[in-house]
Structures are given as C-alpha cells and as structure tokens.
C-alpha cells in the first residue's frame, strides 16, 4: 500500500467532508437528505448498499482497465498472449482441448485473465481504502460505524447456504466422475459399495455438523443485554457423543476389514492366478509374460545390460555382460592413468577457445578442468571401477556355486515375452509381480481400484480380476477411452508422463497379441518417456498442442 497515496486519499476525504460540513448550504441540505435517507435504512440494507457500492466500483474499474489495456502490447520476451481459447470458467461439460490454431479474437480471454489480476489488486486497494474512509467518516460524523458483529453473523448464514449449495453442485457435477464410473474389477465392486457407505455417512455428518456450526454462530451472536448460558459440562451428553461415533466407526472398520481382506487375500497361495511381472524404471513400464512354459524366469538387477533391459538370467547375455564390464573397467583404469594428460590437453583446448573468444566452449572446458583438479573425476572413476568389480564378483559367485547357479539359470526365461503394453484376460485372476530397477514407483490402475508400490530390493504383488473389456468400457465411455497404469509415487523428472496402456480382452485375443510380440532374449527397447519440455524448443512451445507432442514422441521411438 502506497503510504503517500493513502494519505492523499485521506486528505481529499477530510477536505470534502469538512467542505460539506462548514461551507456550502446546498451541500449541507444534500447531506441532510442523504443522511436522513440513510438513517431510515436498517443496518442490513445499509450494509448491502455499501457492499454493492464497493463491488460496483471494483467492477467498473476492472472493466475500464481491462478495456484500456491491449494485451498484444504487453509482450514480454518469449511470451505472446495469443493462445487461450478455453473458457476461464464454466462447467466441466466443456471438454478441454489443447490450443490448436491462433484465432484473431482470442485476446478477449487473455484480457479477462489480466483483468482478473488487476481486479484482485484493486480489490485490496479498495478494501484498504474503504475501511480507512469508513472509519474516518464515522469519526467525523460522530456516528457509530457499522456493527461488524451483525454483518459477520449474517455472512455466517450466507456462507452456510452458499457453501452447502456449492457442495451439492460439486456432488452433482463433479461427483459423477467419482471413481471413474463402475469398477472394472471383481474386488472393485466390493470396494465401491464400501466407498458409497462411507460417502453417505460422512456426507450426512458433514451437512449436520456444518449446519450446526454456522447456525449456532448465527443464532447466538452477541446481543446487548444478553448473557451466555453457564453450561460447563454434561456427562450424559458427552458419553452420548463418544459412544455414537464409536459405534459407527466400529461398523465402518469391520466392513473395511472385510473389504481389505477381499483385496489383499484374493489369492494367498498363488495357485489360482496367472503371474505377470510388472517392471518399473525411470521412466517407463514393461510387462513380462511367462510364455509357453507358464513360468517367469529369474531376473536380477546385476544382469541388466543394454540388450537385457530387465536383467533376465539368460546365460549368453550374462556372459557378454561380463566381457563388457571387464572392458569398461579397463577403459576406466586407462582414463584414470591418463588424467594428467587429459588435463593438459584440456588446458590447451581452453587456450585455443580463448584465442577464438568462444565463451561457451571456454566455460564448458573450464568446468571439466575444475572437475579434474578438485578430484571429482578421479573419485568418479574409482567408484565406477569399484562398482563394476563388485558386480563381476557377484556374478562370478553366482556362477561358481552349482546350487546357486541352478536357482538362477533355469532356462525358464528363454520364452518369456517382454511387452510395452499390458494385455489381460477378462474374468481371469491375475497376479502382478512388481520389480523396480531403480526408484520406488507405484503402479496405479484407477479403473480397477488397484495400486501397489514397486520397491527396489523388495518384491511386491497385487492380485485382482478384471471384469470389463476395453471394448465394453469404450462403449460406456466413448471411443477414445483407454485403461492406463500410472506411476503414482514421485520418481523423478518425468514422473508425470510414466504410464502404460492396459487392454482387457478375451483369452483368444490376448494369445493372438502375445504371438506378435518378440521373445525375451531379444527384448524390445523400453518406452522411455522424455519430458515434453525437452522435446521442443521454446519458440514453438506455445503453438504445439499436446497431441503434437505425443506424435513427436512416437516418431522418436
């Protein structure tokens, strides 16, 4: 708040009021008329009048300003305000579409946005000023300012009514998306009924307690000459509202226990369901099917290599990994020995870059020199050698002991099929065996009410039965509908774009699809989600739609 401006404003008001008060007879009469009119209004009308006045001023000012500011002249570097075509407010019926082409009259929406910002700023200024003026007026006219207790009491009531209506609206409009329609899995139906019971109960309690809270606030607001009831405790009442919630919660928790059991104990001994491995990594998913033998081969993080992305215990690949590792250790060792030479050549490069006045090259070379000078490069190389030696030792120890060797290299992995989509059979129990390569991820299939964390070093699993095919779901939700598996545990830069398509089909369709996939010992490259931001340069940023991004990404594969 600008202090001098405030004082100016105050001075004007004082001057104006005193002018009316002392000098001008006409103004004196006018004031008398206004004040008699004003005094005849009761408090509430007065307040409404004042609020309306303030609101009017704000809207007037905001509309004036928003009209006078041409947004196209407000270009800041890299930013042009020509992209918005989605409405600012409105029901969610209007499906958002990413901006396509620049239309000429789009600036209106942008103007609305800017005027909103201005609106907020002006609101603050007006409120602060209005308060100062009203206090001043009260002081000068010697009248009591508005009774704020009464105003607040009424706003309490209004807030209750508006709030409950807004809640009802939310339930009606957004509530219909709740839980994405009916569940597409067997336990999902039980889940939904548990959810609905909780929803009904909590909604009732919510409405009753909120009404009580605001109604009491309204009803028992301060009145002159009224004294509150001295009522410090009532044991019967307190026991009553301890026991009632306790009983309700007991019922809920028992029902919850039942539901929980139906979810987590769907297949305790693992005999009834088909196993599929879900493999998570930064940033993508793979599914691994057991193949013809019905057994998932052993996999281990130690065996992961460029060609063997899931680390299957496939002996030829492991052997070539050992060769690769040995070569890498040698090259690391050489790099370590050559560090002084590298440093000198870098220094020469830096001198050359300096002569050519190439600032960019200079800074990058300088960075490298610093890395070597402070020993970081040496530490990195040493650590790398240590890591690889350890990995070699571990692989060797597996291969040395025949008993251990037998548990790893079972040949069951040879016909395993690694895919980038997840196809499941309708009405068939499936168990996901989760394995993470690096970070904790979480596999969330919201349509199936299924979620489980994927933890490195700790196998987790989740069993469920899909009951609705993708085709059936498309019939319900429109042709663009797809099931997805999302990552739901923060896992790094591209966490937000780490998902896998899920398809529910009949047994025959899944079998036919599996035949088109390649067998395991030549796993296909995994989908890597590159953050969209890195895919395009800033100049084209505003014009690209999300659909374009997806296309580009597909092209990158």
């Amino acid at each position: 708040m600008n202090c001098s401006k405030l004082q100016q404003c105050r001075k004007i008001v004082i001057f104006f009021l005193q002018f009316i008060k002392n000098n001008n007879k006409f103004a004196h009469d006018l004031k008398k008329t206004i004040s008699s009119f004003y005094s005849r209004m009761n408090t509430i009308t007065k307040n409404i009048f004042k609020l309306a006045l303030v609101a009017g001023i704000i809207f007037f000012a905001a509309s004036l300003i928003s009209k006078s500011v041409d947004i196209h002249q407000l270009k800041v570097d890299g930013y042009s305000a020509e992209t918005i075509e989605k409405p600012l407010f409105g029901t969610d019926e209007i499906v958002y579409e990413a901006p396509k082409e620049v239309a000429a009259n789009d600036a209106v929406a942008t103007r609305v946005k800017w005027s909103l910002l201005l609106f907020v700023i002006i609101l603050i200024m007006v409120i602060a000023n209005a308060f100062d003026i009203s206090a001043l007026t009260a002081k000068l006219t010697g009248k009591q300012a508005i009774n704020s207790n009464n105003v607040n009491k009424w706003i309490m009531l209004i807030f209750l009514v508006v709030g409950l209506s807004a809640t009802a609206w939310e339930y009606a409009v957004h509530g219909k998306h709740a839980l994405l329609g009916n569940a597409s899995s067997e336990h999902g139906a039980i889940y939904d009924s548990m959810f609905n019971i909780t929803l009904i109960l909590t909604t009732i309690v919510f409405v009753i307690t909120q009404i009580l809270l605001f109604y009491f606030s309204f009803r028992y607001a301060k009145k002159d000459g009224q004294k509150a009831l001295y009522y410090a405790h009532n044991n019967r009442l307190e026991v009553f509202w301890t026991i009632i919630p306790a009983i309700v919660l007991t019922l809920l928790v028992l029902r919850g226990h039942q539901t929980w059991r139906s979810i987590v104990y769907a297949d305790v001994d693992g005999t009834k369901s088909t196993n599929i491995e879900i493999f998570a990594f930064q940033f993508g998913w793979n599914a691994r099917y057991a193949g013809d033998d019905g057994i998932l081969g052993v996999a281990d993080y130690k065996f992961i290599s460029g060609k063997n992305k899931l680390g299957l215990a496939y002996e030829p690949e492991v052997d070539s990994l050992v060769v690769e590792l040995k070569a890498a250790i040698l090259s690391d060792q050489q790099a370590l020995d050559n560090l002084p030479k590298t440093l000198e050549s870098l220094k020469a490069d830096w001198q050359a870059a300096k002569d050519m006045q190439d600032q960019e090259a200079m800074s990058s070379i300088k960075k490298e020199i610093e890395e070597i000078n402070c020993g970081d490069r040496k530490d990195d190389l040493n650590a790398s050698i240590k890591r690889k030696t350890k990995q070699l030792e571990r692989i060797a120890s597996i291969k040395k002991d025949p008993a251990v060797y037998a548990t790893y290299f079972t040949k069951a992995e040879e016909d395993d099929i690694v895919t980038q989509e997840l196809h499941l059979v309708k009405n068939k129990l499936v168990t996901f065996k989760f394995r993470s390569r690096d970070i904790i991820h979480s596999a969330w299939l919201p349509h199936f009410r299924a979620q489980m964390n994927v933890v490195p070093g700790m196998p987790t699993r989740f069993t469920f039965m899909p009951t609705k095919t993708t085709k059936e779901a498309k019939a319900e939700n429109g042709p663009d509908f797809e099931y997805y598996l999302y990552c739901n545990k923060i896992c790094g830069t591209s966490h937000y774009n780490m998902k896998m398509k899920v398809v529910i089909e009949s047994q025959e369709e899944v079998d036919a699809w599996l035949k088109t996939q390649q067998p395991a010992f030549k796993p296909m490259p995994a989908v890597i989600a590159v953050p969209a931001v890195y895919l395009k340069d800033s100049a084209t940023m505003t014009k690209d739609s999300s659909k374009n991004i997806t296309k580009k990404k597909l092209a990158l594969r």
Binding site: V76, D77, T83, F131, S134, M194, L213, Y484, H495
Partner: protein, 635 residues
C-alpha cells in the same frame, strides 16, 4: 514495539525491589534475547516470512498446473534457467512442491505456530517469570533461524533444491544421480532438518519443564488453560518423535555420502549401472519417517486446537464445554498418534495383517476428534458470540476440522486407501485438516494475542475481510480437489495436459489457481494489518477481550519477569464465563473469590430458566435448538 518505555517500567520494578536488572544492549534485547516474549515475536515474524515464501511457491506451481501449455514471460525473469521460455522446468516444479511442503509443515506450522505461542503463552498463562531455561530457549530460536537459512540457501545451488517430495523418500533422495535435486540440494535439506530437530527438541524440553514445574500458586493441572495442555502434549510428542527423524536423516546422510546401505538395495541406475548397495530397505525409511510424520500432524494440529478452545470460550462468553473431556481427548489423540503411522504405508507392500492393525487404531482416533468437534459446537450453543477476527478464524478451524477430518475416515480405511493413496484426494484431505485448520489456528492466535505481544490492537474490519476471503478461497481451492482425486488424478504430476483423461479437470485447475491467487491476495491484507498495527495500531487496553486467563493480568508494556511484584495466585479454572452469580460475564483466574470449589456448578434453577420450555434434559435442549432452525421457532 512496546519496549521504548522500558526505563519507566524499570523504575516501577525497582521500587518493588524484586529484581535487579540492567538495560540490556540492543543485541541482547532484540537479537540474542533470552526473554520469552521477544523470542516468541522472533518465531512469529520468521514464521510469517517463511509462510509468505511457501505460499509464493505454491502460487508458482499452481500457475503451471492451471496453464500447462502456456508460457509466462515473468516466470523466466523470476526463475532464470529454471523457467526457460516462461515455462517451469519439471525438476523445478518438483523442487517447489518439496520446499513448499517442508516450509509449511516444519517452518510455519511447527516452529511458527508452536514456537510462537508456546513461548508467549506458557510462562504468561501458568504464571512464570520466564521459561525454565531462557538460554536454551534462545538457542532454540537460533537453531531454527540457521535451519531456515540453510534450507533457503538450497535455492542458490546449481542443481536446485531437494525435489523428492517433502517426505524425501529414498532411493530417489539417496541417489545423487537419480534427479538433479537429489544432489547438493538434498544434502542441504537434510542439514536444515537436523538443525530444525535440534531446535524443536531444545524448545520442547523447555516447554515441558516449565509447564510441569513453574506453575504459580493455585494453578493445578485441572486449572490449566487448554492452550497449555495442548502445548504440553505437543512438546511431549515432539520430544518423543523428532529423535526418530534425526536418526532417519542421519542414516540417509550416511547412505548418500558414505556408501552405507541402510535404505538401498538391488538398484540399477540409468547412466551409472548396478549399484553395490545391498541389504537395505527403502521401506525402513518410511517407517522411521512416519513414526515422526504422523505425530508431526498432531504437533501441528494440537496447538491450533488449544488456541481455538481458548478463543472460542472467551468469545462465546461460555465455559468450554466439557473441560475434562477436552483434555482426555487431547491426551488420547496424542497417545494414539504414535501407533498409527502405518496408515501412510498401506500400499507399500507391507504385510496385509499389519495394514489391518493400523486401520483399526487409525479409525479409533476419529472418536476423540469427534468429541472435540461436538464439544466446540456445544460451547457455541447458547453463547453470546462476539465475532472478533480471532473468533471467526477459530470457527473456520472447526469447519475445516470437520471437512478434513471426515475424509480421514476414507484414507484411514486400508481398503479405500488402495484407490485414494497419493491422489488429489489426499492433497485435499491434509490441506484442509492439517494445513488450513492449523494455519487458521495460527491466525486466530495472532489476532487474539496481538495486543499481548505488541501492546496494540489489530484492525477488526480488515481482520474480518481477511478471514472471509481466506476462508472462502481455502474451500474453493481444496474442495474440488477431492473430486479430482476420486476421478483418478495423481498428485505431484507436473503436466496434466499430456494425459487426455485429465482434460475434464483443466477448467477446475484454472478455478483452483484463481482461487489460490485470491487467497494469496487476502494475505496481503493481513500483512498490511499486522505490520501497520505493530507501529500504528490503537493502543491496547489491559484486558481487551475480557478474558479470564493469567496473561491479561500482566502489564501491557513488556517487562522482564512478566509481573511487577508478586506473581498473581490462581483461584479457579480458566473458563468461568457468564457465571449466573456474577454481574460481569467473566471472572479472571487471579481474582480473589469466595473460596468456591474448582468446578463451579451453576444452580439448578438457573439452568432451568434457560431451558424452561424444554423440561430438563440437556440433550433434548441441544437437539431441539437445531430443530428450531427448521421449525423457525424461537429457541
């Protein structure tokens, strides 16, 4: 500031010849002060500054969520390389989310709330000259300050601040190469948190000792104001749970910097290769973290509830309904909060049986919470309510406590959590029940005790407007998020426009962001009111709210030792408002009475006059007054 006439109070004090004080130097008075009132002001102002920063961060990432495909030039000029082309970098988005959470949970709602009001009120309300150890108290603030500086300094690091969420789960936070923020930024985060824990422990032990040992004559435990009960239990929670986080943090530092494997096992990192770590478990970190993390929720909430109890009783001019029930429910919440941490981990793959156990104990917590809510409602019933800003924020807290608490019943249920875990439903839940409720408790406390802190009054009208804007905007921001979560929108996603399924929420996201900006703007009103009133507010009277508690008997001008002369003795409980045997509607604790018992029972006939047309059952009276709402009969 109310200290300019300290010399005057000094002569006054010297006349009483109780203490021999020297005029402290500027540095000892304002910077390295050992006076609990000054330390509380330091905590408050640091907390407010951190709160503003936390809120600004939330506004920045709200812009990204509302307009994911657009670029804003001002972002680039504000954030530099982190917003190339006017669009926030995904890594920086994560960093903003992380630091927003950390600042709000630890720096604002733990230190800013508990630190401020425990320091101010404990000595003043129990009748002590200062904290048990003023020096430790000073250390507590300065550790907190150092911790804030370290945390904020991570914004100056090349790889950016910690960005693995405010829970900093390993392996993401443990592997320096896993994402940019896991480099130096996370190290600084951990150092900051360790400094913070030291601060919390130094403060907590001080609060406990002061409450237990330094109460004035007559201040028995059942005459303590509920604020003090809340601060005492909060300090106990902190003292028992923060050391666990200290351990967890140290292990994480070891894993990060010294190659140990507490939390790491079987990891192949892109660009690095197979790690040597083996045998650790990332889930162990989650157990340790949430062993603090869940009590932390109540470390945040209990002081707010305590403040609310006091403010509601004072401004409804009624004794708080069911004092003992309130204390018992506070106690049971505190005890239960130690055995429910597993409900944050239902889907980590832990034994399903363990999930069942945690589900049972979690839902038990709803019972004392319900008792508290109903007791607040009963306190308002037939009161004589004055809508001071403090009172309205307290009512707002109760409203949030109900809305957010009820969604806790979904999330505490292991079965329902399978779907709702880490969705926007969770975001909505904890922002209402913990974030908004606690910040409203803090605002309530600031408006209520501002006269005590600064000797001046804040402006009521501005306060009311601040309340209504904040209240409405908080609901507008967080209420729609429930429905987003229910429709399968995951939290901590940087860009929703990449997933067509979330398209229907784009308008809602814009609505939320605009509401957030409205809420942010409302805080400018508060800042204006707060800092203006410190210097130019109306001078406060001795007992502006006509309150009963002991702090209002201390002189308006602060003096070292709180009371000139003897510390007043206490004769009754803190909530003797509107007693039928008195003309005044309040009865200060220190006022000499007729030697009446601790719990004064209103005579039966007085009760009857209020409930004459409803025979005698209080239960009936309570519910009938609700029925009158519909029957439009005068209750």
């Amino acid at each position: 500031m109310s200290t300019e006439t300290l010399t005057a109070t000094h002569t006054h004090q010297d006349e009483h010849a109780h203490h021999e004080h020297h005029e402290p130097s500027f540095i000892r008075k304002y910077v390295f002060s050992t006076d609990h009132k000054m330390i509380s002001k330091q905590f408050l102002i640091t907390g407010i500054i951190m709160g503003c920063l936390g809120m600004l961060m939330s506004l920045l990432f709200r812009i990204q969520l509302a307009w994911p495909d657009e670029s804003f030039g001002f972002l680039e000029s504000l954030l530099g390389k982190w917003a190339k082309g006017g669009k926030i970098d995904p890594n920086y988005y994560m960093a903003l989310v992380t630091i927003h959470g950390t600042i709000m949970v630890f720096y604002v709602l733990t230190a800013g709330l508990s630190g401020t009001f425990s320091n101010l009120l404990i000595p003043l309300q129990v009748g002590a000259r200062d904290m048990a150890s003023p020096f430790m108290n000073m250390l507590s603030y300065w550790f907190f300050f150092a911790s804030s500086v370290v945390l904020l300094s991570s914004f100056a690091v090349e790889t950016g601040p910690a960005s693995s969420g405010w829970t900093v789960y390993p392996p993401l936070s443990a592997l320096q190469k896993a994402m940019p923020g896991s480099g130096l930024g996370t190290t600084l985060w951990l150092v900051a948190i360790i400094l913070f824990i030291v601060s919390a422990l130094l403060g907590g032990i001080n609060y406990i000792v002061t409450v237990l040992n330094m109460r004035t004559k007559g201040m028995s435990m059942n005459r303590l104001p509920l604020t003090i009960w809340a601060f005492l239990l909060t300090a106990c929670l902190g003292l028992l749970s923060f050391p666990v986080l200290l351990g967890a943090g140290l292990f994480l530092i070891f894993d990060r910097s010294f190659g140990t494997s507490f939390y790491l096992s079987d990891i192949y990192l892109n660009g690095i290769g197979a790690m040597t770590n083996s045998g650790g478990s990332p889930i162990m970190y989650q157990h340790l973290f949430w062993f603090l993390g869940h009590p932390e929720v109540y470390i945040i909430l209990l002081p707010a509830l305590g403040i609310t109890s006091e403010v509601i009783a004072t401004n409804a001019r009624k004794p708080i309904f069911g004092y003992s029930a309130m204390v018992i429910s506070l106690l049971s919440i505190a005890v239960l909060s130690f055995i429910v941490w597993g409900h944050h981990m239902f889907i980590t793959g832990m034994n399903p049986f363990l999930g069942t156990v945690f589900m049972y104990v979690t839902l038990i917590i709803a019972v004392p919470s319900a008792v508290k809510t109903f007791n607040y409602l009963a306190t308002l019933w037939k009161g004589n309510i004055r809508f001071t800003p403090a009172m309205m924020f307290a009512i707002g807290l109760v409203s949030f406590f109900i809305s957010g608490g009820l969604t806790g019943i979904y999330l505490g249920n292991a079965a329902l959590d399978v779907q709702l875990h880490d969705s926007y439903f969770v975001v909505a839940h904890f922002h209402l029940v913990m974030g908004s409720a606690a910040i409203f408790g803090m605002f309530s406390g600031i408006y209520h005790w501002f006269p005590k802190m600064f000797g001046r009054m804040m402006n009521n009208t501005l306060g009311s407007i601040h309340f209504w804007l904040t209240f409405a905007s908080a609901y507008m921001v967080f209420f729609p998020m429930h429905f987003m979560g229910l429709a399968g929108v995951p939290r901590r996603y940087y860009q929703f426009s990449l997933i067509p399924e979330f398209g229907i929420w784009m308008n809602v996201n814009i609505f939320i962001t605009v509401s957030a900006f409205l809420g942010g703007a409302a805080q400018l009103l508060f800042l204006y009111n707060f800092f203006r009133s410190i210097f130019k507010g109306k001078p406060a009277t001795q007992n502006p709210w006509e309150s009963n508690t002991l702090e209002w008997s201390a002189p308006i001008k602060h003096l070292h030792g709180n009371w000139p002369g003897d510390i007043p003795a206490v004769y009754r409980g803190p909530h003797e408002y509107s007693r039928p045997d008195r003309d005044l509607d309040y009865f200060p604790q220190h006022e000499v009475g007729n030697g009446e018992p601790v719990h004064y029972e209103a005579p039966a006939e007085t009760q009857k006059t209020y409930a004459s047309d409803n025979k005698d059952s209080a239960t009936k009276v309570f519910f009938s007054s609700f029925a009158h709402l519909f029957l439009l009969k005068k209750a």
